[in-house]
C-alpha cells in the first residue's frame, strides 16, 4: 500500500520513535541508576521530546490531558483521530 501518510502521522511517528528510546532508557536506568551515559542520553531525549510534542500540539491539540498540556479553544482533547484510527 502506497498511501501517503498524513503530516500528523508523520510527526507522531517521530515522537513515537523518540519516546520509545526514552521508554527503553527509563527501564534500563531503573536497574542501572548509576549509569551516567544512559542518564545523559535520557535527559537529551527528554528535551527533544518536549520540543517535538510542543510542535505537534500546536497543530493537532494536546497529546496528554489532566493538566499536563494546555489546549486551544475550543477544547481540543476530544479531536479525532484517536490513536487506533490513525493510518501510519
Amino acid at each position: 500500500m502506497n498511501r501517503k501518510i498524513s503530516h500528523q502521522a508523520h510527526l507522531l511517528k517521530e515522537i513515537m520513535s523518540y519516546e520509545f528510546t526514552a521508554v527503553e532508557l527509563n527501564l534500563f536506568l531503573d536497574t542501572h541508576p548509576n549509569d551516567v551515559k544512559a542518564l545523559t542520553e535520557y535527559n537529551q531525549v527528554t528535551e527533544c521530546l518536549k520540543k517535538l510534542k510542543f510542535e505537534y500540539e500546536k497543530c493537532y491539540g494536546p497529546l496528554t490531558n489532566f493538566g499536563t498540556s494546555p489546549s486551544q479553544h475550543p477544547w481540543r482533547w476530544i479531536d479525532e483521530p484517536w490513536p487506533w484510527q490513525i493510518e501510519y
Binding site: 527501564l27 531503573d30 494536546p62 497529546l63 496528554t64 489532566f66 499536563t68 484517536w82 490513536p83 487506533w84
Partner: protein, 190 residues
C-alpha cells in the same frame, strides 16, 4: 495516577481487513499470556515489593504493557475494519460477532474471556518475580506462534516489536530479582 497519551507506543499497521488473523491475534489482547494479563499482573504485584527498584520496574513495565494492550487492540480493530458479519462468520468469528459485534473484547483465541485467574500477586517478591520472568518468556513464545500463523507483513512488523519488548522485560526482571535477593540477604541477621 496515570496520564493517557493520545498516541500508540509503536505504529500499528495492517495490510487490509483480515478476520482470520484478528481471531488469533486477540490471544495477546485477552489471553493468559497477553498484554492485559501482563499489565494487571505487574501493576497488582507492586504494592508489597521490598525495594524501590522492584516497585519502579513493575510500575514502568506494567504501564508499558498497557500500551501494548492498546497496540494489540488497535491491530484487531483495524483487521476487522470493513469486514461484514458474513465474512466474520466465514472466518470463524460468527460466535464472536453474535456476542460483541465488532467491539474489541478481551478473550483468547479460543474464545475464553479474560480472567484474573491468569495472574497472581503474592506477598512474596521472589515468587512474583519468577512468575514475571516466566510470563515474559510465555508471551514471547506466543508472539512467535502468531508470527508463524500470520500472513500480513505489516502485522508481523508490529508483532516483532512486541516480541522484542518481552525479551527486554525479561532482562529487566532478571536484574530486579538480583536486586531483591541482595536486599533479602542483607536483611538476614544471624
Amino acid at each position: 495516577m496515570w496520564i493517557y497519551e493520545k498516541k500508540l507506543e509503536y505504529p500499528a499497521k495492517v495490510s487490509g481487513p483480515n478476520p482470520r488473523l484478528a481471531k488469533i491475534i486477540i490471544e495477546q489482547y485477552g489471553g493468559s499470556d497477553g498484554e492485559l494479563s501482563a499489565g494487571i499482573r505487574y501493576l497488582t504485584q507492586r504494592y508489597t515489593m521490598p525495594t524501590g527498584m522492584a516497585k519502579g520496574v513493575l510500575t514502568d513495565i506494567g504501564t508499558e504493557e498497557l500500551a501494548h494492550f492498546e497496540i494489540v487492540g488497535t491491530v484487531v480493530y483495524k483487521l476487522l475494519k470493513g469486514v461484514s458479519p458474513q465474512q466474520m462468520q466465514e472466518a470463524g468469528m460468527g460466535a464472536y460477532y453474535a456476542d460483541f459485534g465488532k467491539g474489541i473484547f478481551p478473550i483468547n483465541a479460543a474464545g475464553n474471556p479474560w480472567t484474573a485467574a491468569y495472574i497472581d500477586a503474592k506477598d512474596d517478591p521472589i515468587s512474583n518475580l519468577h512468575e514475571d520472568l516466566a510470563a515474559e518468556q510465555k508471551a514471547r513464545a506466543v508472539y512467535e506462534n502468531l508470527l508463524n500463523l500470520s500472513d500480513d507483513p505489516c502485522v508481523n512488523d508490529t508483532l516483532k516489536f512486541l516480541r522484542e519488548r518481552e525479551v527486554v522485560h525479561f532482562q529487566r526482571f532478571g536484574e530486579v530479582l538480583d536486586n531483591v535477593q541482595t536486599w533479602m540477604n542483607s536483611k538476614k541477621v544471624f
